[in-house]
């Protein structure tokens, strides 16, 4: 029984960019900085597209929440193989955290009759690692997090999870929420013909209020600071000097 797959793709600052804190410490500089799809979301998307190729999924829908620029990330997802996209529009200044996003997804799941939600395990900007779990909680669905291997077996999913103690194999009853870990797959590159075809694929824009989700902030960021600068080491000429230096800084 082929099911519909919902894939979450988040627009984050590209991992290769050097992040700088704003002078007023209210956040990081995002203006003029290169953004891209969260690497774990790419892995989730790749898995969804592979399910479609194996005819286990009937349709892959890529979803992103945020300002207008999110559509670039959705277009990339369409180029990789998603069938259509949904952009849930949220103004740039509004608070959007895992709780709000998971409520959006829960609403979309009901609206679109989805059988599997695939997400990255966490986003590289906030490292929350909460959205997938919250969606499962809201929908009362099974969840497989930190998944490094996934097989569909009839009405169940067999997943291997990467946990601190090693690898855990779990069987989940569909419908399910899965969050992808690094070793799940190696994402493909979008081919040029697909990039050009993606321009014509369907991309719906929804307002967050239409899904019945409230955006009241639950916490307030007090300040953002850079980690302390690593100081240069000091070279010493001899062991005697080394001992003297260590005594000076009170280490011995």
């Amino acid at each position: 029984m082929a099911f519909r797959v919902l894939v979450g793709v988040k627009r984050v600052i590209d991992y290769a960019v050097k992040v700088r804190v704003k002078p007023d410490k209210s956040g990081v500089v995002t203006d003029g900085v290169k953004h891209s799809m969260n690497p774990f979301c790419e892995i989730a998307l790749e898995e969804a597209v592979r399910l479609k190729e194996k005819s286990l999924a009937s349709e892959v829908i890529a979803v992103s929440c945020g300002p207008q620029q999110c559509q670039e990330v959705i277009r990339t997802a369409l180029a990789i193989g998603a069938d259509r996209g949904i952009h849930v529009e949220v103004p740039a200044n509004d608070e959007l955290g895992p709780l709000q996003v998971s409520k959006v997804f829960a609403a979309l799941v009901k609206k679109e009759d989805v059988g599997l939600v695939l997400l990255g395990k966490q986003a590289i900007d906030d490292d929350c690692n909460q959205t997938g779990q919250m969606i499962a909680g809201l929908l009362d669905w099974s969840q497989g997090t930190f998944v490094s291997e996934m097989t569909v077996e009839g009405e169940t999913l067999k997943v291997v999870r990467e946990v601190d103690g090693g690898l855990e194999t779990v069987r989940l009853k569909l419908p399910s929420v899965i969050t992808a870990d690094l070793r799940l797959n190696e994402p493909r590159y979008a081919t040029l013909p697909n990039i050009m075809k993606a321009k014509k694929k369907r991309l719906d824009v929804l307002k967050i209020k239409d899904l019945g989700v409230e955006l009241s902030p639950r916490f307030q960021v007090l300040s953002i600071d850079e980690p302390p600068q690593r100081e240069a080491g000091v070279t010493v000429e001899s062991t005697a000097d080394l001992v003297k230096k260590l005594k000076e800084i009170g280490k011995i």
Partner: protein
């Protein structure tokens, strides 16, 4: 007694005929003393070795030939004492240090120098050269030792003058983007420095982690961004060099234009340390592009590659920042030896990598889309992919940048670096492949498409000097027939000096020699390099 043959073949056989450090340094027993080694048979060995040390059997690019040591002075204890007093702790005679300083990166050339000097100031360089000039001691200026033609290592017992400690950035003018630095600065550290300030160094090489700016300028290095930023000859605004007699030639300036007299710095640029030792450089650094994209395209044939280049030039204009090509043999090696999975499925005879930049970070889709539509609709490009974010751009570049590494793992490698008109660039690869099919393992062609610069590499299962000689005749002959350059970027060093005749007339070479004799009458600056021996 094993003659010290300097060929790759012997280096590869080193496990069967190991040259221990003691053996290597026994060869340093030169007439009239000098050299430090522990060998009980000292006197006996010296007598035996005397004749051997005046000539080296060297396999240079044009056939096997013998290089005879020119009658320079030899290093005396008084010289060592002078250097040690001038450069305390920086005049090194330790065999371990010298063992590494004497060998180039490709391990093709191994010198016999006994002393490595590390000056810290231009005054020290000047005094070193003055002393060597008076004494008649030959010197080899040394940078990062990443050259591919053996130009940065000694052949006999030349004094190595390493610029490694002259690695300070003197000044940076943010407004104009002018960088003033010493010759020993490593290229990658300069890149990081100026990138923090919104600028880029106008060239990019695979060896950036080790090569020094003095060497880069002295060899007029090219690289991936040549098509965008042009030659170092227009980006080096000024330099400071020490001449053969120790005189410091100060041509440091930050001016873009200066037509007062002959442009002497152009003599230093590309002369590979044979006309002077570069000690400081003033470099013009263009603004850093913010939005960089990279397209990886599979082409249907070489005409398709050329058409892609045309389309890139006309559609992308000033947004074009690099354009490279490689054949499917290269792609295959990268996949096999480095384990990199190809970014696009399906095999194509040629691949082109196109880098595009914007002046702001917003994606300029219009021009880029028009470019892709043109090349795909006209059938030049069958498939491709594009990276638009820094992380992915770096990953995609690896497919081209790591080709030399992959080739090195394929066997014994012979490299050619030629420049001809762009439309005939690949003809020689096909011709070589056909002509030498049964004797070669792999023939590979890749290079800087926009510059007409082909890197033709041949991999063999075992070294074969006769084949190498036949290949030279064929490839250099072809290049000369098409009025091309037999060394587009790599220079001549010691390994290609005898190939100069394929690309330069004897009159031109004669004038070069007169210039060299005028500037360095004793011939002490990096001897045995660039110009062919007069014998």
């Amino acid at each position: 007694m094993l003659p010290l043959l300097m060929s790759r073949s012997l280096w590869n056989l080193r496990h069967r005929y190991p040259l221990t450090r003691r053996q290597i340094f026994r060869h340093l027993a030169l007439p009239n003393g000098g050299g430090e080694f522990q060998s009980g048979e000292k006197t006996l060995v010296m007598q035996e070795e005397t004749e051997k040390q005046t000539a080296r059997q060297m396999y240079v690019d044009i056939g096997a030939s013998t290089i005879t040591r020119l009658p320079f002075a030899t290093l005396e204890p008084e010289d060592i004492a002078f250097f040690q007093q001038l450069l305390p702790n920086r005049a090194l005679t330790d065999p371990d240090v010298l063992a590494s300083a004497n060998v180039d990166w490709l391990q093709n050339v191994q010198g016999l120098s006994q002393i490595l000097l590390r000056p810290q100031t231009v005054e020290e360089v000047s005094l070193i050269l003055r002393h060597c000039h008076l004494r008649g001691l030959a010197i080899t200026p040394q940078g990062g030792k990443t050259g591919l033609v053996g130009g940065g290592v000694p052949i006999f017992d030349e004094v190595i003058v390493s610029m490694a400690l002259m690695n300070h950035i003197i000044d940076f003018d943010d407004w104009q983007g002018v960088l003033v630095c010493e010759a020993g600065c490593i290229l990658e550290s300069l890149m990081q420095y100026v990138e923090k300030r919104g600028r880029v160094i106008p060239l990019d090489l695979g060896s950036k982690g080790s090569c020094q700016i003095g060497g880069v300028v002295s060899t007029n290095a090219g690289g991936l961004r040549f098509i965008r930023y042009g030659s170092l000859r227009s980006n080096v605004l000024g330099l400071q060099a020490v001449l053969a007699d120790g005189q410091v030639l100060d041509l440091m300036t930050q001016l873009r234009k200066d037509n007062t007299g002959y442009d002497l710095k152009q003599l230093m640029i590309g002369s590979e340390g044979t006309l002077g030792v570069v000690t400081s450089v003033t470099l013009l650094c263009p603004p850093m592009p913010v939005g960089v994209s990279l397209a990886y395209l599979g082409c249907t044939g070489f005409p398709g590659v050329l058409a892609t280049l045309c389309a890139a030039r006309s559609r992308l204009g000033e947004r074009l920042s690099a354009i490279e090509f490689f054949d499917h043999q290269c792609a295959h090696l990268v996949h096999t030896h480095l384990g990199l999975n190809p970014p696009i499925s399906g095999e194509f005879p040629f691949y082109v990598v196109v880098e595009m930049v914007d002046s702001d970070s917003h994606e300029d889709n219009e021009k880029i889309s028009a470019f892709f539509e043109e090349v795909m609709e006209e059938g030049h490009v069958a498939d491709g992919t594009i990276a638009t974010t820094p992380g992915k751009v770096k990953t995609l570049w690896a497919y081209r940048e790591r080709i030399p590494e992959a080739i090195l793992r394929d066997g014994h490698v012979i490299k050619y670096d030629i420049c001809v008109s762009i439309n005939m660039m690949y003809d020689i690869v096909t011709a070589t492949r056909q002509r030498f099919a049964d004797r070669i393992k792999n023939t590979l062609g890749y290079g800087h498409l926009g510059d007409g610069n082909l890197h033709l590499n041949i991999s063999l299962t075992t070294p074969d000097p006769t084949l190498h000689s036949d290949l030279n005749d064929f490839i250099y002959g072809w290049t000369a027939k098409h009025r091309g350059s037999v060394s587009a970027e790599h220079g001549l060093g010691v390994l290609k000096r005898h190939a100069i005749g394929y690309s330069k007339s004897s009159d031109a070479i004669a004038l070069m020699r007169r210039l060299k004799n005028m500037m360095d009458p004793k011939g002490i600056l990096n001897p045995y390099k660039v110009l062919p021996s007069e014998l």
